[in-house]
Subunit: 668 residues, 2 copies
């Protein structure tokens, strides 16, 4: 029936992966780093831009303080990394922030964190692919007005790769991340070298003048100025996203999992700090300028630029400055950046479904999000993320600057709650440990958690204050709604569990006193005979056939055949005053049930199995709705007796299911 | 589950109609005439326009011969009516042309006629509603650019009325048709009166000059001229559509059906002939001019009119001429015309589904087109026509003149074949009747059929020659495709019948030697207990439970419960190396079948019945595909054991199915 889709699926997603190969899905550090750190590492491709263009609202001079903003981000980064290295050791099961918060601050907070992280994973994908599209257009200006399509294509590509399963991603991932790191390292080293030898040039945008926005004519002064700096900081803080991904992914690490994860976190922190610092430094030294919308804010050679004016991202400008405008390095860098951004999206695609399956296991989301697909990926979760990310990308026209406004709210909600949870955690652990040495060590850990908590809380406040009206409210609303949905789902599952749980007095062995078998007859042909045979084989207490009299002639024909063949089963004709087949059958079944409520009624429905979808139009039109309707009745069981139309015989429904010869033989 | 849609449906379509009320759906002549003749009668609203605007291509003078073209149409009409009065008497069963042709010229020709008529019914709806929209805009110029929306709205309205059932339409139909006839009669009588007394004025368009199209500068000369006259004739021949509707609708007439139908046909012929003649006469006397596209062909006061120039249809112009431009009569006439056009579409909506159900009964179309809905209408057929008509209307921008080009091809294909069939029919009947008197009478009938055949064949040729390139080819292609589809459907059903037919050696009483019952276990809760109880109640030869091991912990839990409750059924754990639940179950079932191919395997599937659609997202995700997949297997029966989640309890699934108290009581 679905042989075509299956074939397509195989082609796109690949053959099923055997459980035996699960170890392939477990990653050594050298692979885990690129897979799970790409998100954090890649943010250096847009974080500096966001800091600078935000400050640029206050004019050229304001940009000068960008290094200090960058430094502030680094401080937060360092603290958060330190805290999370403790977290993964304390909670190595892969529950990450969600688990920590649920265990220490209760279910509600936990759900909130889950929702916050899910929202942010979606934004990681959208932002990364939007940025990637931006870099592509920087290298290929011809595609400038294809940005959205490029970004969407990127999302789809990554989603598809992930449907192929982690193992594949793992191997593929290492290369581009390391390539990006190498290229960026080269750029920074050469750049700093030139700076020391005084041969470092000016950025292409250095001579551009920035028109301050309304209210910033005096530069960064007063409250407005302070707020703008804070906003620049909170935009720069995107560099911290992706840290939590590792704590969610501990199970994918080789043993000792926690230790390896912690080590990876350390490396990640060091590397991304170094990169961010280097880029901010060089950007400052070369007077790089980028603004939100050039055609309004920029003066190029004293004039406003044309609407189609394109400004390179910071990394691009640095490449042109350090290696020369004509140099191939620019394109190498673009390629490397796009590569790592793709992996960043990929990080989210591995983190989101893992989290979703965890939430599903705890019954906050539909169960099917829990299942691993035959490629070992959480198929449903991936598809869900794919959908959301595409919607986001299209809705915001793949505009990085507007997507950024929705971003990192979730991350810092999660950071803050997590650290609050950890403070309580360490406190509790400490109380249980009498030994002074241990206590001292735990005190230290708790201190770290506390500092991290305070800092993250502060950042969260900053982010909310500076971004709420810019778009962060959308994220907050999404988080709240999602939490509500998850709470509702959990309530539903709880109710069902309570209802279905076996009480000691549950009638484990009670059998229905008698079984009434009813055979639905639409024509006296082979399928009916099979249904009769099957029904009689189950030796019901009573067996009757029913015919719905929608067409006098047809009914007559059936009854004649019945006599002619001397079928040893009583047949009842059901009147159908409204010419509908379902009502009469249901009423009849009800009648039977009413006479003997403790008995079981089994309705046998002969069904055709056809090969082509279009053939369905020609069969079973009456049966399917009837079965659905009968399911509404209590104490009624429906038995489907399939008949394979020869057009359906020997059909290919996947290798594992070509009918065995004996089975063919068994067909009457 | 679908309580909302049902409520909506009830509101739109109404309560079910009991078979007892079928007689309400049978119409006396005075109602049958309006219901089944509106199509033919209403064509006077556009046939004259089509004749005149076609001739107008050759300039003003050419329009002068329009009466003669009209006369030719009348002749054909008379002959066809005469022939069809014989037809309904000879074939009163309501099969109409399709039946006549199938019986006398064979199945293929019959299918062709069926396809042709279906195509034309769709066009009747499209053309009528497009014309109606034109008249509405004539009265309310403000709606001029809403033509398409108006037409589509009309189609939907009529479709809906028909879903409400014929009885309703019947009563509602009489009024507007008679109203239209009255208004038109008044118009013609007054007009002719004025003409005789010499007080008949000139039409508003009389003084407009028509620019002849390229090649017609010399007027109607040469081959081109002749062809143009023929084209005008074939456009005017739309007046004949709707005749066959009555022959398809004989069963709706009161007894004596055939006689009443024949009588109605006679009245119809006389009335529409009179109306057409009258309109053509007055149009000629008042020098009415209408053209295809005014902004190119017309000179108003010597200048080309503005693009938004609107020309009234012929009837409208006559009303203004006879009763005065300012008179209310114009609006009365518009209202009456729109009313009758709506009924014309309605005619098609009663004819098309009747024909479709006939074709379905003969297995040329899917069976469900055969079923009468609970309002006694052929619901599916109506919906199908609704769809096609809307598509046509939108595709051709509700432009009458372009739709007309696709029109009446089907009708004349059907007329011609039908009369050919009747010629053969009368010949055969005659050969069987020795009595000279009877033979003479039958000779007469045969002569009429023969004349009608020749005439219709000639018209068909004319239509094809003059319209094929104008758009008739679309209709022809549609007819051919539709015929092919119907032939294919018939082949399929024939193959199925042959396959399912009971041969004398069919094992009517053969029972499977043994029954293997398999219970699919996803959790040990009440539904499982019910499934166990039901399965054991059917006393299978062997009974086992299977657990698919997709999650080690879950499997462990199930097995523990199994022991704790001492469930007296062996449980098999199925390995799921690819984490998919379906494959292992199927393979297991196959194993059982392979061991004993002659036995029956019954798989019991516990299923949840939920109240709200969204709850489905949370349940049965695994079961439904599994059941579908198991249907692919031979010798396997699936038994669904429904469990009604309390959220689904006492749900309203329509009045006829609120669970009876005993049934509630019966729930464990």
């Amino acid at each position: 029936m679905q042989s075509i889709p299956r074939a397509l699926r195989r082609a796109l997603v690949g053959k099923p992966i055997h459980n035996e190969r699960f170890r392939d899905a477990v990653l050594p550090k050298r692979t885990a780093l690129p897979v799970f750190s790409a998100d954090a590492l890649s943010s250096v491709a847009y974080a500096p831009d966001e800091i600078i263009l935000t400050l640029a609202l206050a004019g050229t001079t304001a940009v000068a303080i960008s290094p200090w903003v960058g430094l502030a981000v680094l401080v937060v980064l360092a603290v958060v990394i330190a805290a999370y290295r403790q977290n993964v050791r304390a909670y190595p099961s892969g529950g990450g922030d969600y688990e920590i918060v649920s265990k220490n601050l209760g279910r509600t907070a936990g759900v909130g964190v889950g929702a916050a992280l899910m929202a942010d994973y979606a934004l990681v994908v959208a932002v990364s692919m939007a940025t990637a599209a931006q870099y592509v257009t920087a290298a290929l200006p011809g595609l400038a007005d294809r940005r959205v399509e490029l970004a969407v294509a990127g999302v789809l590509l990554v989603g598809l790769l992930n449907l192929r399963g982690l193992a594949f991603i793992g191997r593929a991932a290492a290369v581009p991340t390391y390539f990006f790191l190498a290229v960026l390292a080269a750029l920074l080293l050469v750049g700093v070298g030139q700076d020391l030898t005084g041969s470092l040039g000016q950025a292409p945008s250095a001579d551009r003048e920035v028109l301050p926005a309304a209210g910033f004519d005096a530069g960064l002064t007063g409250l407005a100025g302070a707020l703008l700096v804070l906003r620049a900081f909170s935009s720069g803080a995107v560099a911290l996203t992706g840290v939590e991904t590792i704590t969610n992914s501990v199970p994918y690490f080789r043993k000792p999992r926690a230790a390896n994860a912690a080590a990876t976190l350390g490396v990640l922190g060091a590397v991304s700090a170094a990169m961010l610092a280097g880029v901010m430094y060089l950007a400052d030294r070369t007077d790089v300028v980028v603004v939100g919308n050039p055609e309004e804010q920029l003066l190029v050679d004293g004039r406003l630029p044309a609407p189609d004016f394109f400004q390179d991202p910071v990394l691009g400008q640095l490449a042109k400055t350090v290696f020369g405008t004509e140099s191939l390095w620019f394109y190498v860098l673009v390629a490397a950046t796009v590569g790592v951004l793709v992996l960043a999206a990929n990080t989210a695609f591995s983190g989101f479904p893992t989290l979703a399956s965890r939430l599903a296991r705890d019954a906050f989301l539909p169960r099917q999000l829990q299942a691993r697909g035959d490629r070992f990926a959480f198929t449903n979760g991936i598809l869900l993320l794919l959908l959301v990310a595409v919607v986001l990308t299209v809705a915001f026209g793949a505009n990085v600057n507007s997507l950024i406004q929705l971003y990192i709210v979730g991350v810092f909600v999660s950071f803050t709650l997590t650290q609050a949870g950890m403070v309580r955690h360490w406190g509790r652990v400490r109380r249980m440990r009498p030994h002074p040495g241990v206590r001292r060590e735990l005190f230290g850990r708790r201190a770290v958690a506390l500092v991290a908590f305070v800092l993250c809380a502060a950042v969260l406040v900053v982010v909310l204050v500076t971004k709420l009206t810019q778009g962060a409210w959308i994220t907050l609303v999404a988080i709240v709604l999602l939490s509500a949905v998850m709470a509702g789902v959990r309530r539903h599952y709880d109710a069902v569990d309570a209802e279905l749980a076996l009480q000691p007095d549950s009638p484990v062995r009670a059998l229905p006193s008698r079984v009434h078998a009813i055979i639905y007859v639409s024509s006296v042909r082979k399928p009916l005979m099979r249904a009769l045979a099957y029904a009689r084989a189950s030796r019901p207490s009573t067996l009757e056939a029913v015919v719905v009299d929608t067409n006098a002639a047809a009914t007559r024909r059936i009854l004649d055949e019945w006599q002619r063949l001397e079928i040893p089963v009583p047949v009842t004709v059901l009147d159908a005053p409204y010419r509908d087949t379902i009502g009469p059958v249901v009423d009849h079944v009800r009648g039977v049930r009413r006479k003997s409520p403790r008995d079981l009624v089994v309705v046998y429905l002969p069904e055709y199995v056809v090969r082509h979808r279009w053939e369905r139009l020609l069969h079973n039109q009456a049966i399917r709705p009837l079965r659905a309707r009968l399911h509404q009745e209590r104490g009624v069981m429906t038995a489907s007796v399939p008949w394979h139309l020869s057009s359906a015989a020997g059909q290919d429904v996947g290798p594992e299911s070509a009918p065995a010869p004996q089975q063919r033989a068994a067909r009457p």
